[in-house]
C-alpha cells in the first residue's frame, strides 16, 4: 500500500490509475466487506499486518476482476489472525463469487479454502496431484475438526512428502 494515501484512497487507487472516475459506493462497500470501514481515513502505517491484507484484498476486488491471484496472502500473519482471515475470505467469496488462485504453504489453509488443491513439486515445478475438495460450503470453524477435513489434509501431506523427498 502507498504510505502517503489513506486506506480509502489506497482502495480507490486502481480507479485513478486506470483513469476512471472513482466509484465511492463500490469503495465503501468493499471496505465494509473486509471490515475496514472504521479505518477508512487511517494511514497504512497505523494498521496491523492483518488489516493491511484486508485492505489489499479490497483493493484487488475494486475493479470487479474476473480472477483473483493471491500469492501467500496470509504468510506473514500469526496463526490466529490467519485463521480469522481464512474465514473472512470465504465470506468475501460468498458475496463476490470470484475465481481465485491462491498459493500457500499451509495444507490446512489449502483444504479449508479450496475447491481444488493442486500440489506442485519443487524444481522443476510440476503438477503432481490435483485433488478435489468435497467439503460443503459455507465452511465454518467446525470444518477444521471434521474427519473428512483431516483425512484430506493427511492425504495431501503425504503427497507433499513424496514430492519433496
Amino acid at each position: 500500500m502507498l504510505p502517503w494515501l489513506s486506506v480509502r484512497d489506497n482502495v480507490a487507487l486502481p480507479f485513478r490509475v486506470a483513469g476512471r472516475p472513482v466509484d465511492a459506493v463500490r469503495v465503501d462497500e468493499l471496505l465494509a466487506l473486509v471490515g475496514m470501514a472504521e479505518f477508512a481515513a487511517a494511514r497504512p502505517q497505523q494498521l496491523s499486518g492483518g488489516m493491511r491484507q484486508r485492505v489489499a484484498i479490497a483493493r484487488a476486488l475494486v475493479l470487479h476482476p474476473r480472477i483473483l491471484l493471491l500469492d501467500e496472502p496470509f504468510g506473514a500473519l500469526d496463526a490466529v489472525t490467519r485463521r480469522q482471515l481464512n474465514i473472512e475470505l470465504q465470506r468475501i467469496w460468498s458475496t463476490q463469487r470470484i475465481t481465485t488462485v491462491l498459493v500457500t504453504h499451509s495444507i490446512d489453509e489449502a483444504v479449508f479454502l479450496g475447491d481444488r488443491v493442486v500440489v506442485m513439486s519443487p524444481r522443476p515445478g510440476r503438477i503432481c496431484r490435483d485433488a478435489p475438495i468435497p467439503l460443503a460450503r459455507p465452511r465454518g470453524r467446525d470444518v477444521l475438526s471434521d474427519a473428512t477435513f483431516h483425512a484430506l489434509t493427511d492425504d495431501l501431506s503425504r503427497a507433499l512428502d513424496d514430492v519433496t523427498t
Binding site: L2, P3, W4, L13, P14, R16, V17, A18, G19, R43
Partner: protein
Amino acid sequence: MTRYAPLLAGVVAVAAVWELLGRLHVFGTMWPPLSAVLAYVVAPDHHSLLAAAVLRTGGEALAGLAIGSSAAILLASLSVLVPPAATGLGAFASIVNGVPVIAVAGICALTIPRDATPVVVAALAVAFIVFVAATAALATSPATHRDLFAVLGASRIVTFARLDVPGAIPGILDGVRSAAPAAVVGAIVGEWFTAERGLGPLLVAAMQNYEIEQLWAAALAGTALSMAIYGVLGAVRGTLSARSS
C-alpha cells in the same frame, strides 16, 4: 527541549571558543571577540544596514533556490521519464557543476541583466545538488509498489505522477534543504560582480575599509541566513513526513 540540547551546546561551545580566541588576540586584531561583533550588530545605526543587506541577499537566495530547484527537478523528471536522456543530462549537470561559482558569476555579469545576476548564480549553485537528490529520490519506489502499478496497467506517466513523485517528495526536500547554503553563497558571489547592496557588497566594503567588526557581522548574518532557510525547509519536510505516516 532535550532534542535541541546538543545543538544549543554546540552553539555555546563555538561562541565560547570564538570569544576566547578574540579576547586573547590569538589571530591578531583581525579576529575580534564575538561580543564585539554582536555589539556592532545591535548598534542602532548598524542593524538597519545589516537587515537591509540580509533581506536583499535572502530574497535573491530564495528566488535562486526556487528557480534552480524547479529547473533541477524538471531535468531529473525528464531523465526518469526518458531513460535514454538520463546519461546526457547527468553529464550536463556535472559539467555545469564543474564551472567554479566565481567564473559563473563573472560570465553572468557580462551576459545577463545586472539585477538578475545574483539570482541566476544562486540558481546555478543549487541546481546540481537538487538534481542529484531528485534523481535519486525519484528512483526509490519499492519493487512491490512498481509491481502493483504494472499489474494495474499503469502507464509510465501515471506511475511517475502517482508513485514516483509522491514517494520522492521527502528526498527532494532534503536536497533543496542541503542546497540552501549554496544559494546564499551564490547570491553573495553574484552580488560581488554586479550589486551595490546586499551582503556581498557589504563584505567587500568592510574588507576594503578595514571595518573588521562589520566584516564579521556580515559573515555572521550570512551564516544565520543560511541556517534560517535550512531550518524552515527542515520544518516543512518534518510536517510533510508526519502527515504521510
